[in-house]
């Protein structure tokens, strides 16, 4: 455990030092990676800790992005207000969706969440007046930190905001999975029938964690919209949900830190490959097949196992 504390310190110091040493585009790439990391982290709460594989998690990222974009464009509020709106909308929509979806388990749960996500995607696509249809909403401004406060328009300032959000979210999620509630979730993952026979109803637990995961995904989306300056239906598309699952798997299911790293590695691989070939998806596919067969525990999971053995 001492080793991981040292690693965490190194990571925090690195995050804090980067804005002073990195070039502009590197800093912007890192901001991007952290936002995807937060998305993967939120997915790990339900996928890794509760064993509920959602194939529609991108919907909540997208809802967060749209809510944030609308608040920033139409009301010009500070960014944290937009973040709150994004997280709130994602959570509010996740409540009824979760209520339906948690009635089913396993593969049916995956397909239900996919179907609801496609439904939300269709709404975003068709509701042209509000969402701009397939064009999405462009020109989302990076406003201020608070009313009359400092501007977040510089890459360093926005990076700092994203980094703080991701670190805080990680700490919150860690506290959550280590709480009695988190242990209940793991009990459901390990043996739902046994959990039921011990006299507890698993559904409220699943619903609550589903909503919490959606809130964090919404936060990630709400950061995404001002950072990229737009929100479009693509971020709600099912391909993005699938990529989220890939990120979690790549980093290590049920490790929290792993999915953040997994998201970074995944997006970096895509960036590097897409600079060499337009057909990078074929390599992503191969990486994926090989990861699933040979490294099912992901990067962090495998590293932990190797250290246990040493």
């Amino acid at each position: 455990m001492r080793g991981s504390r040292a690693l965490a310190t190194v990571a925090l110091v690195a995050l804090a030092v980067v804005p002073w040493v990195a070039a502009r585009h590197q800093l912007s790439l890192l901001t991007d990676l952290l936002i995807y990391g937060l998305f993967a982290l939120s997915l790990d709460l339900i996928m890794g800790y509760t064993g509920m594989v959602s194939f529609g998690h991108a919907a909540y990222f997208g809802l967060g992005a749209y809510a944030s974009a609308l608040v920033l464009i139409h009301f010009g509020q500070p960014v944290p207000v937009a973040l709150g709106a994004g997280a709130l909308l994602a959570g509010a929509v996740a409540l009824p969706v979760g209520w339906f979806s948690t009635r089913a388990t396993g593969i049916y749960f995956a397909m239900l969440t996919l179907a609801f996500a496609q439904l939300l995607y269709t709404v975003a696509y068709k509701w042209r007046d509000l969402t701009g249809g397939s064009d999405g909403i462009a020109g989302v401004p990076k406003t201020t930190l608070f009313w009359g406060g400092p501007s977040l328009a510089s890459p360093q300032a926005f990076y700092a905001l994203v980094a703080v959000c991701v670190v805080l979210s990680l700490l919150l999620c860690r506290a959550l999975v280590r709480s009695p509630f988190g242990h209940a979730l793991e009990a459901i993952r390990e043996n739902e029938r046994r959990f039921t026979s011990l006299g507890r109803d698993p559904r409220p637990f699943k619903l609550v964690v589903f909503v919490i995961a959606a809130v964090f995904a919404g936060l990630a989306g709400a950061l995404f919209a001002p950072f990229r300056g737009f929100a479009s239906p693509e971020v709600m598309f099912w391909v993005f949900s699938g990529q989220g699952l890939m990120m979690v798997l790549m980093g290590g299911i049920g490790t929290l830190v792993g999915p953040i790293l997994g998201a970074m590695v995944f997006i970096l691989i895509q960036e590097v490959l897409s600079s060499y070939t337009e057909h990078w998806m074929i390599f992503t596919g191969f990486v994926f097949v090989l990861m699933v067969i040979f490294l099912p525990d992901g990067l962090v999971g495998t590293a932990r196992r190797l250290r246990m053995r040493a």
Partner: protein, 286 residues
């Protein structure tokens, strides 16, 4: 009246194509306990290979005969070279593996055929329309309805009346017990996976003259096929038929009366059914 008849036939055509895809998806789930995300890509592969065969031979029928076995063989090869090693893992890994296979195949087709859609002409005597009472209807669409009916009956007879079908149903019911009784479970899985891919390939060839072969058709059909099997129940042939008819009808009438919300209607129907039967109309509780 003619309008209603036409829409009914449109719904049946769509249901026929959906059945060819979802039957394999359902069969694979029944035997392998795997939800094959790449299944739609095999449908797309069928359409593209159909285009190639028609271009090379100048005829449509060879495509219908040659392409499904080729797609099936590729499917069987992929099952035995990747999926076979991870059956013992939780279902998420198999879903993710097939997601990776789908990316590879989709991108390979993009490289081979380029981004433009490829059209095929139906055979000469299936071109044009036929008059059914007061209604003129495209001959080829009727052919698709008949083809999917023949396949549905064929699959049913094979599963219910042959020894191979019996073994397959035994493996679906309890693979460990079937293994103990001497069934070669690994071989059954490979063959069923291949056969399911061949069905999807057949669907692709049949669809190509109507929809052309285009990138993204696999993704489109797999989401619809998921809805079909969720409505009908995974692993059930009857469910696959019922689900295809329901989705075919919802999409056809939805697109006609409420074009903006056709997709929403399909999901609303699914949601309504799942509230009362979370495992689908014909599915069994896990």
């Amino acid at each position: 009246m003619a309008n209603l008849g036409e829409q009914l036939l449109n719904a049946l055509t769509l249901a026929g194509l959906l059945f060819l895809v979802s039957a394999g998806l359902s069969l694979v789930f029944g035997i392998l306990r795997v939800v094959n995300f790449a299944h739609g890509v095999f449908y797309m592969l069928g359409a593209y290979l159909g285009y190639t065969t028609v271009t090379l031979t100048g005829w449509f029928w060879p495509a219908l005969l040659i392409v499904p076995p080729v797609v099936g063989a590729l499917g069987a090869f992929l099952e035995s070279s990747t999926l076979r090693f991870i059956y013992r893992r939780p279902p998420i890994y198999q879903l993710l593996l097939t997601f990776g296979l789908a990316l590879i195949l989709e991108e390979a087709l993009r490289i081979l055929y380029g981004p433009t859609a490829k059209g095929i002409d139906p055979p000469a005597y299936l071109q044009g329309a036929i008059s059914l009472g007061s209604l003129l209807y495209p001959r080829y669409r009727l052919f698709v309805v008949v083809l999917s009916l023949v396949v549905a009956v064929g699959v049913w007879v094979f599963l219910r009346k042959t020894r191979a079908g019996l073994v397959i149903r035994a493996v679906a019911q309890n693979s460990e017990m079937a293994d103990c009784l001497g069934a070669d479970v690994a071989r059954v899985r490979t063959l069923v996976f291949g056969a399911a891919c061949a069905l999807a390939g057949l669907g692709g060839v049949a669809a190509a003259p109507m929809t052309t072969a285009y990138l993204g058709m696999g993704i489109g059909v797999i989401v619809d096929a998921f809805v079909v099997v969720v409505i009908g129940g995974l692993g059930s042939m009857g469910g696959s038929i019922a689900g295809s008819l329901i989705v075919g009808a919802a999409q056809t009438w939805g697109a006609f009366y409420l074009p903006e919300t056709a997709m929403v209607i399909m999901y609303a129907v699914m949601g309504a059914i799942l509230i009362f039967r979370p495992w689908g109309l014909f599915g069994e509780e896990e």
